[in-house]
């Protein structure tokens, strides 16, 4: 297999290649490249700027350069490396922060000696000298196939790194070590079927533009729990699903993405800051080591990998950043973990594609975007999924992909939004009007959808409550009725409504303000376990059902509702993050009794 051969090529040999003909921004053309292959990594000029071949015409290569090209000109040399754009996969990835082409930003800071990103810096993606304690799980004489786990390394306090047989390898275990090793040392040798020997270290490479192989995909049936009430209850996403968050600026895309990254029950988080603000990445870097993961009790950073290619960093590296991120995510998925990947924002990725395409003088599609925008987008989201990983032990891993989209002016008819909507099944529509009213998360409950929800009905019934799906559906219906009734109120006023309609408005208002409204900056409010979400929503719906029975009585005065103790009590119930099912039950009983007494 080409990959295993590639793995074994020495990393830093520079083969003399061609000579530059033309430089326009991040795009460089060079001739004398007839031996180069498509997507091969090259080093441009004597400064050794990292680049990748994206087109070949005869011996002329078009190269996208991942660093600033000022000062480069015709006549400068181009060096080949013989390998395609790949990421290094080994223990030590977790807790790292990388640029778009997997260079650790910390190493860049040390090499540059100041706080600016200097170009031409080469840095290993993982610490090559660090010793890891490797414990084998196979023994000499065992037969292993690609993807089988050879041994384990405790990578962080929460994650056990599984060292797997690289794809394309396999055979009889001829030797296996135990003890402390760095990632390049041999930890095992395999005797292949043809009697040749394969040397295995903890480090492997994988080309970023190619999805990692798996045995099969599985239909997603379990939700990713995020602690966000409007997400988990109303518009859930599957473990292994794909979702998108489009919204105008200021609607809260980043806050929503970060909340999911903080609280969701995935074991590994890959967070890609793709063409976004520098300070946002700094915020994540500052917060995550201190924030405690509600699922493990350990700092969030222990399960996180950050990729930060901010808006002012080179645009070609931004194009690569989403691929770098998703390849790393797939690697952990293959170990059998639930991985969640956030890409903020895929619009900037698409813009990077547009910029490169424009400089290649390709025929533009819609709004100047290349014609392959939608196929690339689809390919990217299709790398999400719940899979049976390579290997003979039947490990199941999942990769959930959540992409933010930044449509110009919030207009979803633009190409990136449309290309994304076609391939994602959960759509959280962030709404400028809600954001203006400071209703957060500004997920519009009328236009958002989750096509996964029907898949979860069994899960909800078994894990949460038999009537979860029912309560959810009724609540959503109420919100829809509310929007129609509000139209009427706007035209003719509240007086024209029947008591029944007013009850709908009252309860829908409670769902909006007391259930959907969630303060991401309040540590108690930001995360609500699914069972508590159910308890809260059910309590509101009990109020509605009991109310329905009394409001239509002829002498009923709607004002009586306003003074009810149980209404005031709901605020306490919401604040009680440790409420047990009994607490909700007793609240519901009280509310029912109080309403019935009105009759």
């Amino acid at each position: 297999m080409t990959n295993s051969q590639e793995k074994n090529t020495v990393k830093n040999t520079d083969i003399p290649g061609g000579v530059i003909d033309r430089v326009t921004g991040p795009l460089v053309r060079a001739h004398g490249m007839s031996e180069a292959k498509l997507y091969e990594v090259v080093k441009v000029s004597d400064e050794k700027l990292l680049g990748e071949i994206i087109e070949l015409h005869g011996d002329v290569a078009a190269i996208q350069v991942y660093e600033e090209t000022a000062g480069i000109g015709p006549g400068d040399p181009v060096f080949r490396t013989g390998r395609t754009m790949s990421v290094a996969l080994a223990p030590g990835l977790l807790e790292s922060i990388y640029d778009g082409v997997q260079r650790p930003l910390k190493a860049i800071e040390i090499a540059a000696g100041n706080h600016f990103i200097k170009r031409g810096i080469e840095a290993d993606a993982v610490d090559m000298a660090k010793k890891w304690k490797f414990s084998p799980v196979v023994k000499v004489g065992d037969t292993v196939v690609e993807g089988d786990v050879l041994g384990e390394v405790q990578e962080t306090s929460v994650i056990m790194h599984k060292v797997m047989v690289p794809p394309g390898e396999g055979g009889k275990v001829a030797s296996i070590q135990s003890g402390e090793f760095d990632v390049t040392e041999e930890i095992a040798t395999l005797t292949r079927a043809d009697d040749s020997t394969a040397s295995i270290s903890m480090l492997q490479y994988w080309p970023i533009r190619k999805a990692r192989p798996k045995i099969s995909k599985i239909f997603p049936s379990e939700p990713l729990r995020t602690g966000g009430r409007s997400i988990d209850t109303f518009f859930p996403i599957a473990k292994g699903g794909a979702g998108c968050i489009p919204g105008p600026f200021g609607a809260g895309k980043t806050v929503t993405q970060q909340s999911i990254a903080k609280y969701c029950d995935a074991e590994i988080i890959v967070y890609i800051g793709c063409g976004e603000r520098g300070n946002e990445m700094t915020e994540v870097l500052n917060e995550f080591p201190h924030l405690i993961d509600p699922n493990t009790g350990e700092p969030l950073m222990k399960r996180t990998i950050l990729i930060a290619n901010t808006s002012n960093m080179p645009v070609a590296a931004r194009e690569a950043s989403v691929y770098t991120g998703i390849t790393i995510a797939e690697y952990y998925r293959d170990m059998g973990y639930n991985v969640a990947l956030m890409a903020d924002s895929t619009s900037r990725w698409a813009e990077a594609m547009r910029e490169i395409s424009g400089r290649l003088e390709e025929m533009p599609g819609e709004e100047g975007y290349p014609a392959y925008l939608s196929s690339r987008t689809a390919e990217f989201y299709e790398r999400a999924g719940i899979v049976k990983a390579l290997g003979s032990d039947g490990r199941i891993g999942s990769l959930t992909v959540i992409g933010a989209v930044s449509p110009p002016g919030g207009d979803l008819s633009e190409p990136v939004s449309q290309a994304t909507l076609r391939v994602t099944k959960t759509f959280w529509s962030l709404d400028a009007d809600l954001a203006y009213k400071k209703h957060f998360p500004s997920i519009n409950w009328l236009t958002s959808y989750s096509l996964y929800a029907p898949n979860f009905e069994d899960f909800w019934a078994k894990e949460i409550a038999p009537d979860f799906a029912d309560v959810r559906k009724k609540a959503m219906t109420l919100l829809e009725q509310e929007s129609k009734l509000l139209e009427i109120v706007r035209l003719v006023g509240m007086e024209s409504l029947s008591n029944g309609d007013r009850l709908v408005l009252k309860v829908a208002g409670m769902i909006r303000e007391d259930f959907l409204f969630q303060n991401a900056f309040d540590p108690d409010d930001a995360y609500t376990p699914l069972k508590n979400q159910y308890g809260l929503l059910k309590s509101i719906m009990v109020f509605f059902e009991a109310g329905q029975a009394v409001v239509n009585k002829p002498d009923f005065d709607f004002k009586d509702f306003a003074d009810m103790k149980s209404l005031a009590g709901y605020t306490d119930l919401k604040a009680n993050t440790k409420a047990t099912p009994e607490v909700y039950q007793s609240y519901q009983d009280e509310a029912r009794a109080e309403i019935n007494a009105l009759a």
Partner: protein, 462 residues
């Protein structure tokens, strides 16, 4: 350094010059162009370099250039600006030349005006509260040191007065004053002069550096003016340890200059004719704000832009909003009502507010009070809309209290004098005073203890 002169100019179109037969030139290299009959050279940079041919984007006008006789010299370096601490108190033109009649500067350093991206790992999160003395900003949309927060305005709105007020009044808790780097991009002479006078009258001129490119100056010069301003700011902040406030006005003119160059290059346009890389280009300006590890100085940026037809979805405000950490929006409605400064508190946003408020920074009640003011004001405005349709008679007491609250909030809280400098405590207290107009049961975002502690006992009558 290649110092050969080239005379084969094959085309001059708009801001672009095509030079043939070029050898050894590099991308982004500075080009000196000598026009026959002129003793001062004009400058440009290499935009596209292929074998024997360079496309040069001029920073100056191309008018009066001739294909014959014009000589281009490639300088072997990128455009650099000589910087020194003596720039404070001085005025420069948009090309960075002394424009106040004073002596030439002796630069301490020459820095590339394109700057370099800050490593996100080396950033420090901005979290020092800046008191602007303007309640609608300090309480509702708090500015912090190292933030980039633009003013979204429209034609005929008083953004210049607001920006000048911020520049005059901005202080931090430790009492430090800001050095101000101010650049105008294609604004009228009057507006540029207004700022200069304001700084002078407030005694702020000696801590300011001014770069003036007016509407009469070359359009493409505007592309380098903000970069010179930011290069100066970086020098003052990271080398000299100063806290720098950068004000750029008006970014819409800057984007139009970019569009002009892009059109001349016949690039595939993005929205409304602006180039597809407008976002990336703007980010190379806006992201030059912030704090970095181990350096005492900071850069806070307040770019001003006018939204054509007050349209927030126009590419310039839209892409700006995606990069900056919030925005102050100027409200035409409030301006018409005579409220100054007419900050649209709901439409405005400071993404970093949470880092700048609370105990030890402003006051413990700040965050809840802010939430409550937002919520009550939003309710008040909804009621106002409802009252327009249905008449005030249809409102109940709570609604009426909110209606009155919204009025007074605009008048007393948002509205303040152009020269009134409110401490944040004063602003917070005004907020509490106004909340006392509302029934307590509608104050859901503030805890009863806070009401007890801060709300004045004598109520303002609704």
């Amino acid at each position: 350094m290649s110092q050969k002169e080239y005379t084969d100019i094959s085309s001059i179109a708009g801001p672009l010059l095509v030079v043939e037969g070029v050898e050894g030139a590099k991308y982004e290299e500075l080009v000196e162009v000598n026009v026959p009959g002129e003793n001062k050279p004009r400058f440009g940079k290499v935009l596209d370099i292929s074998k024997g041919r360079a496309v040069v984007q001029m920073f100056d006008n191309t008018s009066g250039m001739t294909a014959d006789g014009t000589r281009a010299r490639f300088r072997g370096e990128t455009l650099k600006l000589g910087v020194s601490e003596d720039m404070l108190g001085r005025v420069f033109n948009g090309a960075g030349q002394v424009a106040d009649g004073g002596p030439e500067l002796i630069p301490e350093q020459r820095r590339d005006i394109a700057g370099e991206p800050i490593n996100p790992f080396s950033r420090e999160f901005p979290n020092d509260f800046i008191q602007t003395g303007i309640g609608s900003i300090d309480v509702m949309n708090t500015l912090v040191r190292g933030q980039k927060l633009p003013i979204f305005s429209g034609a005929g709105l008083p953004h210049a007065r607001l920006a000048a007020q911020i520049a005059r009044q901005a202080t931090v808790k430790d009492g430090g004053e800001f050095a101000i780097v101010f650049a105008t991009l294609g604004v009228s002479f009057e507006e540029a002069e207004y700022f200069r006078r304001e700084f002078e009258e407030a005694g702020a001129l000696e801590r300011s550096v001014l770069f003036i490119n007016t509407a009469a100056d070359p359009v493409v010069e505007r592309i380098s003016t903000p970069r010179m301003a930011l290069t100066t700011a970086e020098y003052l902040a990271y080398e000299k340890g100063k806290h720098v406030l950068v004000i750029l006005t008006d970014l819409t003119n800057y984007c139009e200059a970019l569009r002009e160059v892009s059109a001349a290059r016949k690039e595939v346009p993005g929205r409304r004719g602006y180039p597809g890389y407008l976002y990336t280009d703007l980010s190379t300006l806006y992201e030059r704000a912030g704090r970095v590890k181990g350096k005492p100085g900071t850069i806070t940026q307040i770019p001003i832009l006018t939204m054509p037809d007050d349209d927030k979805t126009h590419p310039v405000p839209d892409l700006t909003g995606y990069i900056t950490e919030g925005q102050f929006v100027i409200s035409r409605e409030l301006y018409r009502k005579g409220v100054f400064p007419p900050v649209d508190v709901q439409g405005s946003l400071s993404r970093l507010w949470a880092a700048g408020v609370g105990e030890g920074k402003t006051r413990a009640d700040h965050s809840s009070l802010k939430d409550q003011l937002f919520a009550s004001y939003a309710t008040g405005r909804e009621v106002r809309e409802l009252a327009v349709v249905l008449g005030e008679a249809s409102l109940d007491d709570t609604d009426r209290a909110h209606l009155k609250f919204a009025e007074e909030f605009e008048k007393q809280f948002v509205g303040q004098g152009e020269y009134e400098n409110r401490s944040v405590e004063e602003s917070l207290d005004i907020g509490w005073k106004l909340l006392s107009m509302l029934p307590k049961s509608s104050l859901k975002r503030v805890k009863p203890e806070l009401i007890e502690k801060h709300m004045p006992k004598t109520k303002v009558e609704a």
